[in-house]
Each structure stands twice: as C-alpha cells, then as structure tokens.
Symmetry: C2
Subunit: 394 residues, 2 copies
Amino acid sequence: MLSVEQAIARLLADAPGPPASEPVPLAAARGRVLAVPLVATVDVPPADNSAMDGYALAAADWRGADQPLPLGGRVAAGQVGGDHTPHTVTRIFTGAELPNGADAVAMQENCRVDDDGVRVLKQPVAGDHVRARGQDTARGANVLPAGRRLLAQDIGVAASVGCAALPVRRRLRVAVVANGDELVEPGAEAGPGKIFNSNRYLLGALLGQWGFDVVDMGVAPDRPEVIAERFSHAADQADVVLSCGGVSVGEEDHVKAVLETIGQLSLWRIAMKPGKPLAYGRIGETPFLGLPGNPASALVTAMIIARPFLAACQGALPAETAPLMVDAAFTAPAPDRQCYLRVRHTGRGLEAYTNQSSGILLGASWADGLAIQPPGLAIEPGTPLQFLPWALLA
Amino acid sequence: MLSVEQAIARLLADAPGPPASEPVPLAAARGRVLAVPLVATVDVPPADNSAMDGYALAAADWRGADQPLPLGGRVAAGQVGGDHTPHTVTRIFTGAELPNGADAVAMQENCRVDDDGVRVLKQPVAGDHVRARGQDTARGANVLPAGRRLLAQDIGVAASVGCAALPVRRRLRVAVVANGDELVEPGAEAGPGKIFNSNRYLLGALLGQWGFDVVDMGVAPDRPEVIAERFSHAADQADVVLSCGGVSVGEEDHVKAVLETIGQLSLWRIAMKPGKPLAYGRIGETPFLGLPGNPASALVTAMIIARPFLAACQGALPAETAPLMVDAAFTAPAPDRQCYLRVRHTGRGLEAYTNQSSGILLGASWADGLAIQPPGLAIEPGTPLQFLPWALLA
C-alpha cells in the first residue's frame, strides 16, 4: 500500500504543464492562478505622504512648544504637495503628499492653533507620521509570485501598483463521470435497488469551489462499451477526467478493464480511510483519476488526493502553511491506515462524528473539518491531532 | 471606545431581515444561504445494502467453515434485491440491496468458491457488512438548518435525499463607494498627489468571495454634494452600502456631514488596530457602513466587522467553530487596542510581517492570516495567539 504522501508525490510528478495564460480584468481575477510574477512598476506610496491630519513642518524648525510657527500653506489628499515654506507649518491631511522641504507631520491633536500661528506641543522628529515613498512596495519588487491563487488582498495589491488586468492561467477543465446502474438523479423517482446520485453534485460543487470549469459527463451505466465511449469523450473535452465509483476489482467494477483498453491505468491501494482504492492513468495525454464511489470516500479522496493534483495541473503553487494542531476530545483505537475523521472543533477540542463509515456523507455536513489520525496512533482526550478546517480544503 | 465584540453586537442587533427566498438548482447552490431547514423525505440508504463485494446469507444458516452453501442468486448494485433462498448464499456487490431473508454479507476475501458451493470461512454475525436502511439519514430528519451557507458536502447531502433544487436567500446586494480625490484607477496615469485606487478592487473581491452581489458605485470625489448624490443612489440600488475612506473627523472627511444630511450616522471609535474609525448609519432603510481608507484598515475592518454584519443581513447563521490557537514566534509590546497582526504560520509558529502599518497592504499578501493580540498582552515567542487563516475569513 502507498502512503497518502507517496500517492500525492507520484501524482504531482506526473502532472502535465499548466494551461495557457490569458489576461483578465482585476474584478474577475480573484481565485485565478497568476501566470507570471507581478513586478511593481511604481513605488507605493508614490511619494512621501502624511499618515495623519495635522501640520507638516521641518523638524529642525521647531523651537519649543510655546513658539508658534505661521501657517504657510495647505495640502489635501489628491493635491500636489508643492513646496513647503521654511519656518512655517503646512496644513496637511491624511494621504496628502508631503510638501518639499517638510520632513515630519505633527498630529492636530498635539497642536494649538492661535492667531499668531500654530504651536506644536511635542517636539517633532524627522519622519514622524510620514509614510515614506515606496514603503509598501518599491518599484521593481516582486510583489506576487507566479502560480499564486489570487486572494482579495492580492487583487488590492495589484491595483495599488496600477495593474488593471492580470495574466492568469485558463481555468482547468475537469470532466466528471459518475458510474453506477444504481444511480438515479435527484428530483426523479428512486425505485427499488436505486439510490440518488450525490457524488455528481458533490464533485461538481467541489471543483467549482476550487476554481475549475466542470464538464459534467452525467452517469455511465455499468456497461463497458458505454463507459469507454464516455471516458474517451470526456478526455477529448477536458484537461483531466475525474470518475467516481467502479474502481474496485469486483466483477461489476468495469473502470479498470475499460481504461486498460482505451488508455493505461494503475490501481493504487492507498493506506487511508476512508478511500483506499484509487485508479490513476491516462486516456491519450489526458490524466484520469478514479475516485471511490462511497460518498465520504469520494469527498475525502477528492479533498486530500485530487485537490493537490488538480492544483498542480492548473499551475498553482502548493500551499506552504504549517499544520494546525488541536487536541482531541474523543477516543479512537489505533488504525492500520491513516484515518481522516469528520470532526467538530468545539471549546472542548475536536469531537468526532459518531459514524465515520465511508458510506455516510452527513457527518461531513455536521463537521467543521477533518482530523488526521496517523496509522498506529490511538487517540485519547488531549491527543494533539492535525486539523483541516473545510475552509483550508476549499 | 467600543471593543470589537461590542461593535459587532451592535451591528448584529441592527441587521435588517434577510432577502427573499428563491429556488436554485443544486449545481448552482454552493455558497448560497439555505432559506428553510432541509428535511429528508426518504431514508438514506433506502434499503439495507451491502458494504462489500461478497456473499449475502442468513447468518443462522452457517454450519461451519467446511460446510458449503450453494449459490442461490446474484444481485448487483442497481438491481432489485428480491428474495434470498434459505440455506444458500446470494452473490452480492458493493451498494447492492440485500435480498429479503439475508441478514449478513461475507466478504469475498473470506469465502472459497468450489463446485459444490461457497464456503464462508469466518462465522458471520447478523449485520456484518450491511449498511442499514436510513443509517446515513432517516426520513423526517433535519439534515441542514436554515441559514446554512452551503458547502460542497451539503450539496451532496441534498442530492442524496433526492432534492434537485434548494430554496436559498437572494444574494445580498452590497454597494461599494470609494471616496477620495487622490484616487486614480489602475491602468490610468497617476499624476502628482495621486495614488491608485486599490480599495475598490479589494472590497469588490472580498464581497464576491463572500457570495454577495457587488454594486460598484465607482469613486466619489471629495465634494459633499457629489458624495450625497452617490450615497443616495447606492442606497436605492443595494441592500447595504459600504463606503471606504473619508470617515475621520478631519475637514476633508465629508462622509459624516453628508450622512447626517441624507440619513443618520454614528461615528464609532473601535479599540482595534488597524481600523479605529468606523461609521455606521442608515440612508432611508438601507444600512450604511463606512470603513477606513487605509488599505490594511479597510481589509481588516471588512473581514472582522463588516463580514459578520453582512452575513447576518444575508440571513446566514454565525460560524460557531472554536478559536484556533497557535504559538507566536515573535515579540511585540502590549498594545492599548486589539491588534490584528498579519502573520505567517510556519513550522516555528506564527511569524509577523515586519511592517504592520495600516497603510501597507502587501503584508496581507505575504501573510497566511491574522493573529489577534488582545489589549495589554505583550507577545513573546511561545505566547499562544488566536490565528485566523485567510480561508476562515473567506
């Protein structure tokens, strides 16, 4: 059996190059993957400016709290800073350019305005309440790396250096094929022996959330020739084919046999629970990933195994944040495979859903995320576990 | 000054009722807010079924590992379970309905198939490898609460109980108005005294990420009559008006005066950093929230203050997950206001961006999230801090 890490490493090593780059306006760039590094072509801020409403002056002109300096000018945000008259103060507002010759701002709360001028009550020091040119971003600096999945603040940063559009990777197209004669679509009547198809909607929602274009290929019945036709068609239309169900080696599991006819396939046994069987292969040049059909297995393998692979296919940098550790508030015996438990994060610690069966999806709606139980680790109250809130898997 | 908690509590108490409900198909429901509880009208699974490929039997028929039972039938997933012949085994596959009269499944790995029948090598117990009818969801159970912001797994759960569409709240319409004569749009030329408008794109991206419809009202110059016209127009078109900049009490800050003319307004001083000044009021019936103009202040107040308020206006349940605590790997003196530090989560713990100025947005792109430093708490390496990964604020 492969460990989860080994399985992911194999997939990443086999990921094809990213899709082509295309420009998008800033308002549409959130969640997209930056194709090239963003280099600042301007300083931010573009000039020294005031961090406060107050009075700009040359700090060396200050002669004491009782010595007034006459008002020599006024500059508001959006106006040209102009020249500061020596031995005066210039009225200034937050965000306004510091006039040439001034080097400090006295907050208005620390000034007294009289007929004979403005008294600056605290001795100013050069640089006081001044935002220096380029202090946020210097011209020529790399502000965002290629492969960045753009957050709202990245959009703000791009705007702040004057970019109206960004080059991003075309969205990865991921085809979804559900397998199984037992599947009936929601809204229809589920007769005897049938169950409602949930994986199709679950996977579609996950892929949409991850920023991919979903190519919904519907349900393939358990007939090899139909599965082959469906998979080939999916591979023609998409960058990656994701299938769900039919990946075991049972006589009703046709995915393996079909893939060996129209492409190539390995059946992996991954030391994880839920989720052991996983099929990986190619149809022509198109990667194929076959997830297990049990809903909780489909969810967990999609989040833990498919997600980093698809992100690499999209050209996105891997996340580098450290694991979050939270103490368990429950007991579980040591497993032989790595378990991904559906848990809630409460004031007492992590609490586990009562039924961790791979057939049960409802626990994932009850839970706040997954906790990782490594093989061989028995859990007791107080055992620290790696916690993956759903949001970190989104 | 108000604490952050007090400010949020005041806003929540004043949130108007949620928007109307509308049905959406499952494929479009992720991220939307459920308007009524989802009650299961079917059992999931709808009948007892097999969790394994193997042989179904009545456990009481077993006479020993060396006593073969003849093959009496076959049932695959999607087929009607039918009747099980006593004193035989029925070939069965994962997901297939258990035939009437059988009460256990023997895994095929534990069976030996010979010409004279199938030997079940381990004594079966009733219930072995059987997924009981309704074990995931029982008919009549509340599976999702009203106000739930729908996750991918919730979409899967809704599909599993046969729902093809869900009643959700119409998306909240949030108008964004940026204020300031110094603002130039990205892509244009920023002359002397001007800076690129970043908050408009930052807030637009945040609001989009939170699932709201953004009504972009552009930039209002620093002229009271134009601001008044812009705000009134925004209030007519949107459920909430969000403005950015101009909320101090300086003579160039017109938001307060304008709101007092066309509506009502309180100027709050919140004990948080970045972000102290916040304006809250109404234009007619439409809530108005005025965020500070510094980019890091705008980001933090939007995430910490505006987000829970807007979620309440949308009709969403508040998140109830416990705080994540991570040790600091840096030093910071005790502040008088609650600080929201831009931090990275590394193997050493939380590391803080070197410049925590409210004018600097780049730190938010560098960081993995915010750490909360309560007033009066000096931070040393090892001090546990509440950590808010960006994903939890998305």
